[in-house]
Every structure is written in C-alpha cells, then in structure tokens.
Amino acid sequence: MSHHIIEANDLHYTYPDGTTGVAGVSFRITHGESVAVVGANGAGKSTLLLHLNGYFIPSRGGLRIGDYPLTKKNVNAVRRTVGMVFQKPDDQLFMPTVFDDVAFGPLNLGLPPDEVETCVMHALEMVGVPHLKNRPPYKLSGGEKRAVAIASVLSMSPNILVMDEPSSDLDPRSRRRLIKLLNSFEHTKVIATHDLDMAVDVCERTIVLSEGRVTADGPTLELLQDEALLQKSGLEKPLQMQNCPVCAERKKKQNGNSNIIRAPRRGLQSG
C-alpha cells in the first residue's frame, strides 16, 4: 500500500528571509503508523507539516507522499492523499453551515450530490456531531469546532491524516474524546504536538525535532522517558510518566509545615 507512506529524504527548507525551517530531515512513515512530531517552539514542526500538504516545496532533498514525489506539478494529487487539520479550526471552517463546510472538499473533488451527502453525514457521524450539520461553524464551542474541522477532512477520505496541535484549546473532556477518536482511525497519522501525554496515548512512534533536525526517532514510550534527550530538545517528561509532581510537592510542603508547627510548640514549652 504505497499510497499511505511518507518518506522524507534530507529535507531542507529555508525561509525567504534566511531563517532555517528544517535542515536535513529524513524519515519514513509507513501504512497505518501513528507518529507524533514533537519539539520546542521553533524546532521546525510547523515547517515540516506545511511540506506534507505541499504548501512548501523543499529547497533541497526530497519528499514522497503516497505514490507521488512532492513537486509543484503533483501538489493537487498530494493534497488529495493528505488530509490536513489545522491548529486553529477557525482558519479551516469558512462556509456558512457545518454541512457546507464538510461538503466543500467532496464537492471540489467532483463527487455527485447524493454521494456527497452520504459522505458528509458519515464524516459527521464518525466524529459524533451529526446534530450540528445546520449550525454556522463560528457559533460552535472549541471542541465542536475541532470535531467539525476533522470531519471536513475525513469527508474527503484521505489516506494520511496530518494534524497540527489537535489538542490545543480543548477542555479535558473534549481532549479525552479527541484521543479516543484519533485512536479509532486506521489512517496513517502524523501529529505535531506539545501535548506529550496525548502523544503517549495516540502515537506508538515519535520523531523529536530540534533546531530543524531530527534528534531522535523511535518508540514513543522509550523516547519520552529519556530525560537527557528531552532536556536537550526543550521538552519535559509527560505528566503520566512522572511521579505525580503535585503529590510530591504537597508532601514536601506537609513536611515543611510540620516543622513550622513544631517550632512554636517548642517555644511555648521553653517559655
């Protein structure tokens, strides 16, 4: 199933102002893999993601998405293969109703109207929001917007899903729901995120970026325990892998407090 793979080979991209976006990134993501791309701010995650949907064409090196090498000529084919969910759903939703928004992609692909209706409803049901179909997108809550943004991409049946910070701005329950949803997809997934706990829950593989280069690429559970690597990359161990810091802090305080309480007692006794 070569149409589900992403292969980057010594990918370089420099912005017109001379800033380096990515500098020699190589990896191969195969069918059905779920990969987290993590790194500090400015590490090159967004630049990399913008290559995956053909917005940027590499200055050097190559990128192969599905059956096509990424070139200006192939951009449309690449975009049909890759479904990109943006960080801000407000950038992604622009039609007057949720239904129109989710139908935007399929209609552009030239599907007949009855088929469009079926795939729109199917996509909305997959993300659990068929009841929102007649609502204007800008009036939805953050979690609902995110669900609709994902549906607007799923309706085009992409082989590969690319997401930029899918869990940002979500309340804990919506975040949990999103994690469940992502785990239910069988697509090849590439998720750029700072939410390392989500990376642990959703992605079996992680690529760590730092200053535009891959500093590590391997099993999520292994990499996110490597404190030296995380420190070097400007990251921290996911909370679920730490000994609960809140409880540790509380214990420390309790010990401190008991000392303080004891002190005046001693004073009273001596007085």
Binding site: N76, R79, D91, F94, P96, P113, P136, Y138, S152, V153
Partner: protein, 270 residues
C-alpha cells in the same frame, strides 16, 4: 472596542437571519436577485426632484421583511451606519440649487432640499433592499445566483472572499483594540500615534490569517469555484414573484400612486 465586537456579531446575525425557512427564504436566490435588480434600476431611473412617486417602493422591502421575518430595526441601524456616504453626496444640493420649487403651507422649499431628500429616499430604498436581499437569501446564495445568471466567476469569487475575509478582518481588529483598550486606562495612554502601528499590525495579521484560510481551502481542493449543495430551480412561484413585483415596479414608475390616490380622495370629498 465594544463597538467593533458588537458589529462583528451583527454581521454574523445577518447569516443567522438568512438561514430561516420562510416562504421568501425558500424562493430561488436568482428570483430574488433579479427582482431586486429591477427594483434598483426603477428607483434610480426617477428624476432628481421626485419624492412622492418613490414612496410606494417602500412596499417591497417591507413585505420582504415581514414575510422573511427580518427585524426592520436591525436593517435601519445598518442604514444609519452607511448613511454618511449618501449625506455627503447630497449635502451641497441645498446650497447649489436655491430656486424655490414647492410651497408647503406657506413654507418655501428650494429645489436643492427636494433633490437632497430624493437622494436620501433613494439611498434608503436601494441600500435597504440590498440588505434585505442578503438577510433573506444569504451572501453565498446571492453570489451563487450572480454566477448562475452569468456574472464572470472571478467577480463572484472576489465577492465571496470579501465576505469571508471581512469576518477575519473584524475579528483581528477586535482583538487588537481589546488588547489596546485593556492597557490604555481610560484613553490616558492611547494617543493617535498608536493607530499607525495598529493599522500596520492589522494588515500583517490579516494577510497571515488570510493565507492560512486560503491554504485550508487549497488543501480541500479549492480551484476558484465554491460549490454549494442546494438544489434550486425556477418554478411557478419564482416566475410569479419576478413578474408580479416587476410589473408593480414598472407601473409605479409610470403612474404616481400617491398623487392618483390624492386626486381620488379630493374628488370623493368634493
């Protein structure tokens, strides 16, 4: 700041109004657009001193508002907002044209004042009916109708983007002004100087955001054509709507209804 926020929600309210399901909303957008065009052409075709013959034309927007469940107060507020343009157009007429045209109960009214009033009435009618059309049809549907009636696609897409990016612009502006107001402590620290950088910021931010939106559209196969899945067709109701109203407008163009009614009434009481 609060004003910007409020107007932003007002624009959104227009979309809410257009998503209703009244008899007017269900008409094919092309029928409403064509009828509105006939209306506008007829209204602007009157002579510059015409006032009384224009009055029956208020019936059309009023009927659309009542049947389409559009609150007239909302439209009036929008009219007041853009009225300075019309006022500027006609404000010098009373100075330039001071010949006495009519005497009303001993009060002499110059031609300038009459033509000024005529400009204002025409402004209220044409802009009012355009706003009503959008409120009972939806901006995207109006654009779709324009395209189906043969307007070049490039203009239609420009209009669609104008509508879409207007939200982006207002949204960004509201954020900047909110941030400024929160740190300017009752206007103390907010000199006119800060407006230069605010406008610059607004431009850059809007371009950035517009690019992201365009990217999102391109990612979903946008190639210059916005498809909307609504099956509309011109049926008997639509033909009746266009023909009925257009006949009414043309009749009102050639027969001054208020004058005729006045004559009938004076005959009756004689």
């Amino acid at each position: 700041m609060a004003t910007i926020d409020r107007h932003f929600f007002d624009i959104g309210y227009m979309d809410t109004l257009s998503s209703q399901h009244t008899a007017v909303h269900q008409l094919d957008p092309r029928a409403k657009l064509l009828t509105t065009l006939v209306f506008v052409v007829t209204v602007v075709s009157f002579g510059k001193y015409e006032i009384s013959a224009l009055l029956p034309f208020f019936i059309y927007p009023m009927v659309l508002c009542v049947v389409g469940n559009v609150p007239p107060a909302f439209l009036l507020k929008k009219l007041v907002l853009v009225s300075p343009f019309a006022i500027m157009l006609g404000i010098f007429n009373p100075l330039l044209d001071s010949d006495i045209l009519i005497r009303l109960a001993g009060v002499e009214v110059s031609g300038g004042w009459v033509s000024f009033a005529s400009i204002l009435i025409r402004f209220v009618l044409t802009v009012g009916v355009a706003l009503t059309l959008i409120a009972v049809t939806g901006f995207n549907a109006v654009c779709m109708a324009l395209e189906k009636l043969g307007t070049p696609k490039v203009f239609v897409v420009q209009l669609l983007f104008l509508h879409r990016y207007m939200f982006v612009l207002v949204d960004e502006a509201a954020r900047i002004f909110r941030a400024r107001a929160l740190r300017s402590f009752g206007g103390q620290a907010s000199g006119i100087k800060s407006y230069g950088s605010i406008v610059g910021q607004l431009l850059l931010r809007t371009i950035d955001r517009a690019q992201r939106i365009y990217l999102a559209m391109s990612c979903r196969g946008f190639e210059g054509h916005v498809h909307v899945m609504r099956s509309h067709r011109i049926g008997y109701r639509e033909i009746g709507f266009i023909v009925g109203w257009s006949l009414f407008f043309i009749l009102m163009r050639f027969y001054n209804l208020p004058v005729l009614m006045g004559k009938i009434l004076t005959e009756l009481f004689r």
